[in-house]
Assembly symmetry: C2
DNA sequence: GTTTTCTCCTACAGGGAGTAGGGTGGGGGC
DNA sequence: GCCCCCACCCTACTCCCTGTAGGAGAAAAC
């Protein structure tokens, strides 16, 4: 009986592929075991439990997303960088729906402190600095940016926009235009 | 053995309460059966399957949310109405996290065509008309509004904003200010 | 009072999460 | 080149959840 040579990383990668092909909820220890021709119990040597497996997929996706964002915004600034960053997110969400769904789960503490998370945050801040906010406003802008991108992609993925005209592409452009406008004319005084 | 006098509505309401108390994933036919002192199989007379039960909670929440929004925006317009509508959503999400989670699921076809859904859409459009968009831009504004509100609340609920200073309350105000600004200066020409 | 109609029941099949403990084969020590 | 050990994968089980089939009994219809 040939060994499967499983490792934690291999199992997590397979889980991510499975999620992209059959949906996030299809991530099942049983399904992965079948895929590797192995008993379910064997996977528990490599993965603590299902929850930590999902956390692993989350972190994997975060790293991949950060790499794509880095490439996308390289050499750009201001509005161009904003659009590149947002489009990188949208492309990733469409190409890897299962991985994207994993990103919607609350991040595990270890993920929050991971290199991937730090990288993505740094890239986002670098992009936003092109808009020259007061330092205290950067957080709010970051949150608005994240909310808008994630919110739009979530509604788009769930079909809440319907498949009616006009296309969501136009709405997406409008949303990014709106963010650019808002970021450029961000209120500078401390009203709350 | 006393009858439990179950109906579809009673089961759905209990599921919603359960979700608010113990989380959306705690909605389980078994748990509901225990709650009613009844066998699991008995519930299938009132609910087709688990999925349709979740759809029921979705529609219930949609109706409750629409009622709250209606009260909130009554007599207001423009920026005041926008803030009232958004705050109604946020208050609802915080007070009923389980019901809110149910709203994040893709809506069933029957829910899309439900009275509750129509009501909420009508209220949203009524609020947005205060900003006097070109008719063709209303869709895009609606989508941006939904994306921002849902996205913000999702990130807030999942703890993505951390519990750091400054508080999310300030970020929320900023986000609503941004929406108001954007809605008032919405581009009127047809650039795409 | 009889009949009909629900409501709820027992019983079962199927499948996933997770644990306990045992056998084995391949790489490291020598 | 041989042996030993441990990492890897196994069997066997428990528990919980979903969903189906068919039966009993109480309430309502007549």
């Amino acid at each position: 009986m040939a060994r499967a040579n499983l490792t934690s990383a291999v199992v997590i990668a397979a889980a991510a592929d499975l999620a992209d092909r059959e949906g996030f909820d299809a991530i099942t220890l049983s399904a992965l075991a079948r895929r590797f021709g192995v008993q379910t119990a064997s996977l528990y040597s490599h993965v603590r439990d299902r929850s930590s497996l999902l956390d692993g997929v989350h972190e994997l996706a975060l790293g991949e997303l950060a790499d794509r964002v880095a490439i996308a915004i390289g050499g750009r600034s201001g509005r161009d960088a904003l659009i590149a960053l947002a489009d990188a997110h949208r492309d990733y969400a469409r190409q890897f729906p299962g991985r994207w769904a994993a990103l919607q789960r609350p991040a595990a503490p270890s993920t929050v402190n991971s290199e991937a998370a730090g990288h993505l945050v740094a890239l986002t801040l670098a992009m936003l600095r092109g808009y020259q906010f007061p330092e205290t406003e950067l957080v709010h802008a970051t949150r608005l940016l994240g909310a808008t991108i994630n919110g739009f992609l979530a509604l788009e993925a769930s079909g809440s926009f319907g498949h009616r005209e006009p296309t969501t592409d136009v709405s997406w452009r409008r949303a990014l235009d709106a963010l650019d406008t808002v970021f450029r004319s961000w209120p500078t005084d401390g009203k709350s």
